[in-house]
Amino acid sequence: MLLIPCPNCGSRDETEFHYGGQAHVPYPENPNDLSDVEWAEFLFYRENTKGIFAERWLHSTGCRQWFNMLRDTVTYDIQAVYPMGTPRPDVSVPAAAESGTASTDAESTTTGTSAPSISASSIAPAATPASTTAPKGATK
């Protein structure tokens, strides 16, 4: 089970959250101009990254806020948490381990955000301490 660091509530079990799929998928600016192929792209095609993936989560049984998260889909390590509407932080990627070595305990997913904290919205693994540029601040 993932231990997910909600930017508003701190680390909580995955069961409190709802998965929202790929982050940063804007609604088409001019929907009337879209071709069938472009509509298909918008409706059905999402990244299926093997590695660091930007995705949305909703803390459904907590603060009920959406936020974005960078997570490695092979190791399941959580690399960063950042507010909706802000750009994807630049996390330099440690080489992904092969499947089956996922570490989902508190040590590997957070660095000291056990208490609820609004400012601690970016979390980097020990291997890349200074490399995140996740924006600070509460989620929108």
């Binding site: 089970m1 993932l2 079990d13 995955e14 069961t15 709802h18 998965y19 799929g21 069938d36 192929v37 509509w39 298909a40 409706l43 059905f44 095609y45 999402r46 299926n48 990254t49 093997k50 993936f53 995705e55 997570r71 889909t73 092979v74 190791t75 399941y76 499947s99 089956g100 996922a102």
Partner: protein, 406 residues
């Protein structure tokens, strides 16, 4: 049933050849679908200068990780046609492949627990009958007669209100199925190459001309992708996208028990599916992990959920022990139906998106995909499952009949 002997392994299964520098066709992925495709390419289309490339060991992916349920009671005409064709092939394959993989037609029940379930199920029984698929609606008493250990009391959270029943459905020994196909493929001259990971493609303009692997470059005029959870990763290497999301799906088994569970029981609503393996283990599965993942394991809370459902439905299981759990990576689509056909890259074909339910489709997937690869055109059974459906909107929404929520 459960006391049946496992078949003896034939002495000789397959060679382990070095890859040649070129083949008429290359199939990526040595799971059930890749092997079945190679078998029908050789048998039905005379293409024997072909290779199946598998990055790990033969059938070590979802093929050997699934709960082996085989049925064809899907809702829509397109699905009923391809899954029923698969079921008919399952019925003749042990003889054709000269290998008894214990296909056991012990029937499958899909339970209904709400009025909505009941209506959907009765509708599905009607649709199945119109499509020539054997299907019955059972009331709780009839369910109890077929599977006495099922709890039909109405004082549980989601009482059993009835079930669809397909008597010809059942289970098979999945790894024996893979070995059976592999052995015949080998006999027909197909090279099965293990530990051979495809890492890229050679193209001439938009036409694929070869594959790059960790064992060197292999030239070929045709490539068929049968890589289940990794199809979108390979498609990206080839320069196109697939509307696929990969999720972990897990299963588990108990220790051996006396035969107590004579059929297969699935419940989409409380979400568990249970059968008893030939040796006696209870084999169980549940839903996928909600997030995308390439880890061949699943979340513990999913197991907790499925065990709660299992114990309520089968109080007799309360003291059974879980012996092993494992996961596979399933490739899901938004309409819960597979994608089989041509791709934007010339001479490259894809068979994927079978998600949580592709084991049952193995023979028909192989047969129709082989047709598509050999002729460059769709088979009438896989035509509706082409990639174009996401643009035309002709989706085949099988979420209700897929039986695993995703």
């Amino acid at each position: 049933m459960s006391t049946e002997q496992l078949p003896e392994h034939p002495e000789f299964l397959w060679r382990n050849p070095e890859p040649k520098s070129s083949y008429d066709a290359v199939i990526v992925g040595g799971g059930g679908h890749g092997l079945a495709t190679a078998y029908y390419l050789a048998k039905n289309h005379g293409m024997t200068n072909i290779a199946v490339l598998e990055k790990g060991w033969l059938a070590g992916g979802n093929m050997a990780r699934n709960t082996t349920i085989i049925r064809s009671n899907y809702l829509w005409d397109e699905s009923a046609a391809i899954y029923e064709h698969a079921l008919k092939l399952w019925e003749i394959l042990p003889e054709e492949l000269e290998y008894d993989f214990l296909f056991s037609q012990r029937g499958v029940m899909n339970l209904a627990h709400t009025l909505g379930d009941v209506r959907e199920s009765i509708r599905r029984v009607g649709a199945n009958k119109l499509n020539g698929v054997d299907a019955e609606w059972l009331d709780p008493q009839q369910i109890k007669e077929l599977c006495p250990i099922l709890n039909i009391n109405d004082n549980i959270r989601y009482p059993v209100m009835g079930a669809t029943y397909q008597p010809r459905a059942g289970i098979a020994k999945h790894d024996h199925v893979a070995w059976a196909f592999a052995r015949k493929c080998d006999e027909l001259g197909v090279d099965i190459i293990q530990n051979c990971e495809v890492t890229g493609f050679l193209k001439d303009g938009n036409r694929v001309t070869g594959v790059k692997t960790n064992q060197g470059t292999i030239h070929t005029e045709k490539v068929g992708l049968c890589a289940a959870g990794h199809s979108s990763v390979l498609a990206e290497m080839a320069g196109f996208k697939l509307p696929i999301q990969s999720h972990p799906l897990q299963a588990l088994v108990s220790e051996l028990h006396e035969p107590v569970h004579p059929t297969v029981v699935m419940s989409n609503h409380v979400h568990v599916y249970v059968s008893q393996a030939h040796k006696g283990e209870l084999v169980m599965g549940a839903g996928v992990d909600s997030y995308n993942g390439y880890g061949q394991r699943g979340s513990f809370h999913v197991i907790e959920h499925q065990m709660a459902a299992a114990v309520e439905l089968f109080p007799i299981f309360a003291r059974a022990h879980v012996l092993r759990t494992w996961g596979g990576i399933v490739d899901t689509t938004l309409d819960a139906s597979p994608i089989v056909g041509t791709t934007p890259v010339e001479n490259m074909f894809v068979n994927c998106g079978w998600g949580t339910g592709g084991f049952k489709g193995t023979p028909a997937a192989g047969l129709t995909f082989a047709h598509t690869m050999a002729t460059g055109t769709p088979h009438k059974l896989n035509k509706p499952f082409a990639l174009e459906r996401f643009e035309t909107g002709a989706l085949i929404d099988e979420h209700g009949a897929a039986a695993v929520a995703h």
